[in-house]
Symmetry: C2
Subunit: 326 residues, 2 copies
């Protein structure tokens, strides 16, 4: 089947669109009515590339679809916005991706978008030897969104959920385990998009970022852009469930500090608003952990061990998540 | 150098942003003020993949940057909108793309966006063995945009510029010729984005599409979505300059009918508004050619030769542009 018959099937499977979408997929561009949006439009794009962000055949097409949407929506969450729509550019090999399989990929995207009443308003299909999924997400925000800048010395460092699970889950996959075997693998396969948490944190936090490249890496962006420093207490890191006998304490702490793709939120919250975190916990059922503080140490991040001594941890320099595993 | 130092350099090179952009690149998401936009927001995404849409090392990084923007803006042109911003997701191999080379790629994007007073508001960098560039473009439109549907029997088929040049230019590249050798190669390397033409056609045309996959392919979309048919007079096709002795008449006509990536506009214009095309010609200095008519032939497209007989032409079925050349 050709690219266009697939696009036609996708269009028919699209379903109802939110009222601000005057024209959805199927034309040269989607058309949205601006007076029906929030006062601010948030825009972000994220990619998933086979062999870089996931391993071929470890995720089902539906899981891949869900995951690429979650990853993009996580950036909207980090600003405290409400996701509203997405466009998906997909590079795939038609020989490996017959139409029914590709439809599953899009069904996964739609499933995840539906959870947030967001719509797929457009996309592009192109041939590519290696699968890539590039998702642009749009969200709305009435009030001032949370930025990476704005953290002040004394602010508490707060993270949602748990850290390191996606990295440990990926390790299990690389050892031949399969999705369903472990809650850790689920963390890699189906990461959260902390939309509700971000929306509530917006009224509380001075700054926020989502943890896609690992805590230390992303905390680095937050302190750099805030002109501040930070101290992290490793004993306070929320480690994931399901580690069983597979991973020791030290390995888990290292994963929590440097492992990527957890897609939790990291916020700098003024200490005198700490009691407001409880309302977010109870409204979202998501754990919130205070893992350290913002300092005036211009770009310096200290990680303390359980005795309060400074640990030596190497911060990776970027270019994606399991580069060193290839 | 790492991904993040490159992102920092890009941010510093960004320059001033239009007033509706409250927050540009560098945070989790860009922030745009909706009350400063047009009444309608147009959204589109397009991809360029090495080996599918262009051949490695035939385009300079700056040309690649320009081209991926043009391709995305062409969809905004086809709706009659004004481009306003873009997000660029780039998959590249850091070993082949040292920071200075990547900066050139982004300089090309910015150069092309600047021509339309549009801004790069965000992006993503990821590792990929093969280069891919996925550009999401946003534009504004006050009035009703042009759709693919809406063409009516009797409407004139009008195209901007010339057709087939990008395909013939690609043929020259595949034969080892280089950019600068021929105006045809320029058509492949640096396609237009017919923004001014689209904006003026919006007041005149019943329907419009940009020609990215070849005239017959894209005319097919236009007639399918309009519930109509069409007849094309091959003798009226605007063939490109610079064919010299390299390509004969028949080969050129075939390229004009089926060659992709010309990024001209194809509009259905009511016959009684034909005289208004002259104003568009003179305002934009772009040729506009009447190449046929919309009919009531439900999905049927006839191509007539110079004697008025029906030509047999096979319409390709999609999956990109030089699939058959690989």
């Amino acid at each position: 089947m050709g690219e266009f018959s697939l696009i036609r099937r996708l269009r028919l499977a699209g379903g109802a669109l939110p009222p601000e979408i005057e024209l959805g997929p199927g034309d040269d561009a989607a058309v949205l009515l601006t007076e029906r949006m929030g006062r601010r439009l948030l825009l972000t794009v994220d990619d998933m590339v086979e062999g870089v962000h996931f391993i071929e055949n470890t995720l089902t097409p539906r899981q891949l679809g869900r995951r690429c949407i979650s990853v993009a929506l996580s950036d909207i969450a980090a600003m405290g916005g409400d996701p509203a729509w997405a466009l998906a550019a997909c590079g795939l090999d038609p020989a490996k991706w017959p139409d029914d399989r590709a439809m599953e990929l899009f069904a996964g995207m739609k499933e995840r978008l539906d959870e947030f009443q967001a719509a797929l308003v457009g996309g592009n299909l192109t041939r590519s030897e290696r699968l890539f999924l590039s998702v642009t997400a749009g969200g709305y925000c009435g009030d001032e969104p949370m930025k990476r800048s704005g953290a002040r010395p004394g602010d508490l460092l707060v993270v949602t959920g748990s850290l390191g699970g996606a990295r440990l889950g990926l390790d299990l996959l690389l050892r031949g385990r399969r999705p369903g075997d472990s809650a850790l693998i689920d963390r890699h396969v189906d990461p959260p998009a902390r939309i509700g948490e971000g929306r509530m944190l917006r009224d509380v936090a001075h700054a926020c970022i989502d943890i896609s490249d690992g805590l230390l890496q992303d905390l680095g962006h937050l302190v750099d852009q805030s002109g501040a420093g930070a101290v992290v207490e490793s004993a306070s890191l929320p480690l994931p469930d399901g580690r069983d006998g597979s991973f020791g304490e030290q390995e888990s702490i290292l994963a929590a500090l440097t492992g990527g793709e957890d897609y939790e939120l990291l916020a700098a919250v003024p200490a005198d608003r700490a009691e407001r975190l409880e309302a977010i916990r109870s409204a979202t059922s998501t754990p919130l952990s205070v893992i350290g503080k913002i300092t005036d140490g211009a770009g310096r991040i200290d990680v303390l061990d359980d005795k309060g001594a400074i640990m030596q941890v190497t911060r990776p320099t970027g270019w994606d998540h399991f580069a060193d595993k290839k």
